[in-house]
């Protein structure tokens, strides 16, 4: 299938066209995943929630009011699911840890300490940090997407990298 507009792909997806929806996945998965990572601070959880958001959106695409706004719609779904996941995680913080299902093991990451340190940041600092460093967005774009001022973004980034350094120093993993 030729790459069409989001509207055309959404209409085709509504008719059950998985190929069309796969193109939407290719086009919108990265921002969806980064939203999940920004909220959750954990790559593995972000992968799970991003996939869940994508599959739910395919089933509920009939609820999309303006098919040209698929990107914003799927990002909102991902954000809400991530927040719910974060609440569940906090509620289960004291529960005994369960083993991951077989087949979901990930290779050891050289940035595991960094990822753990990021997970300990407040989400309102982590999200601009992810958008700035992982999505290659400049400060103005981050400010527009988060609907805050550029000075506000600089303030959050400044605080985030200082706190991240403190966490890594406390872990004994100063870069």
């Amino acid at each position: 299938m030729d790459e069409g507009s989001d509207r055309e792909l959404a209409l085709a997806s509504y008719q059950g066209d998985r190929t069309a929806y796969a193109l939407l996945v290719r086009r919108h998965y990265k921002p969806v995943f980064l939203v999940c990572l920004g909220v959750l601070g954990n790559v593995h959880d972000a992968e799970d929630v991003a996939q869940d958001a994508m599959l739910r959106a395919f089933q509920q695409i009939g609820q999309l009011r303006d098919s040209s706004q698929f990107g914003g719609w799927i990002a909102a779904i991902a954000r809400n699911l991530s927040i719910n996941q974060l609440r569940k995680r906090k509620a289960a913080a004291k529960a005994p840890e369960t083993e991951r299902p077989a087949g979901h093991e990930r290779p050891e990451s050289p940035y595991e300490d960094l990822e753990q340190a990021m997970a300990r940041l407040p989400s309102d600092l982590r999200l601009p940090l992810v958008m700035y460093y992982f999505d290659g967005q400049n400060v103005k774009t981050v400010a527009r997407k988060l609907e805050i001022s550029t000075s506000g973004v600089y303030q959050k980034l400044r605080t985030a990298i200082r706190q991240l350094h403190e966490i890594l120093t406390a872990q004994g993993d100063t870069p």
Partner: protein
């Protein structure tokens, strides 16, 4: 190990983020040249930034595999709600509401016409409504008018209360003064009358005294005249009876 200068930490973070202008960056570099702790802190933050960028690249590198997993999982998901939940997807909210409103209105009109028993006598209906409305509204209107008048009176009274109090006080003061003046005047009149009566009594007494004096004088005059007459008569008699003796 000493930590970085507290007042320089934000400036160093801005430096790492590339948020300083050339002059600020040069000033910071001069500070870093002379401060080991701040230089070490700046180096750590730079390394941390590089690690973040590298971590981002690693995530980016795995993005295709993640998308593949989603697309693979998509094959096991049925588009369950396709064509079942909504017959007209992607119609804007306003259009849906407009269609729904038209359907509701149309249904209401159809039901109304269908269930209408007979044509309505408009004149009779109007007369009935006027009578009913007049009967039901009259007490309410009266109550409303009375309440409004009462309310306006209350408002007027409260508004003019100070003015009324001042006017009433002034009026009372004037009345008291007028009463006092009148009382004083009445008192003076009474004294005058009493004095006049007293003077009259004195005058009457004096008049009576004068009358007594006049009568006494008249009596004295009569007595003197009678005495003189008697003397004259006695002398005459004496002359007549004893002329020789007298001549002797």
């Amino acid at each position: 190990m000493n930590g970085p200068c507290p007042q320089m930490q934000d400036r160093i973070a801005d430096y790492v983020l590339g948020a300083l202008d050339a002059q600020q960056a040069e000033a910071l570099r001069e500070h870093l040249n002379g401060c080991d702790a701040c230089r070490r802190y700046a180096r750590n933050l730079k390394e941390q930034s590089k690690s973040l960028v590298a971590f981002g690249r690693q995530i980016e590198a795995g993005m295709g595999a993640r998308q593949n997993r989603v697309i693979e999982a998509l094959q096991n998901v049925s588009p369950a709600e396709t064509g079942t939940k909504r017959g007209f997807p992607f119609i804007g909210g306003f259009m849906r509401m407009a269609i729904a409103a038209a359907l509701v209105l149309g249904t209401g009109v159809a039901i109304g016409r269908w269930t209408a028993p007979r044509p309505v006598d408009v004149e009779q209906l109007r007369a009935d409504m006027e009578t009913s409305l007049a009967a039901s509204l009259r007490p309410a209107v009266q109550e409303a008018v009375l309440a409004q008048v009462d309310q306006r009176l209350q408002a007027g009274l409260s508004k003019n209360e100070a003015k009324l109090r001042t006017e009433l006080t002034g009026q009372i003061r004037d009345d008291v003064q007028r009463f006092a003046a009148q009382a004083a005047s009445n008192s003076e009149t009474l004294v005058e009358r009493r004095f006049f009566e007293f003077v009259q009594l004195v005058e009457e007494a004096r008049l009576r005294d004068r009358q007594h004096v006049v009568r006494a004088l008249e009596q004295m005059e009569r007595n003197r005249y009678r005495d003189r007459t008697e003397v004259r008569t006695g002398l005459a008699t004496l002359i007549e009876k004893k002329p020789a003796t007298v001549q002797q």
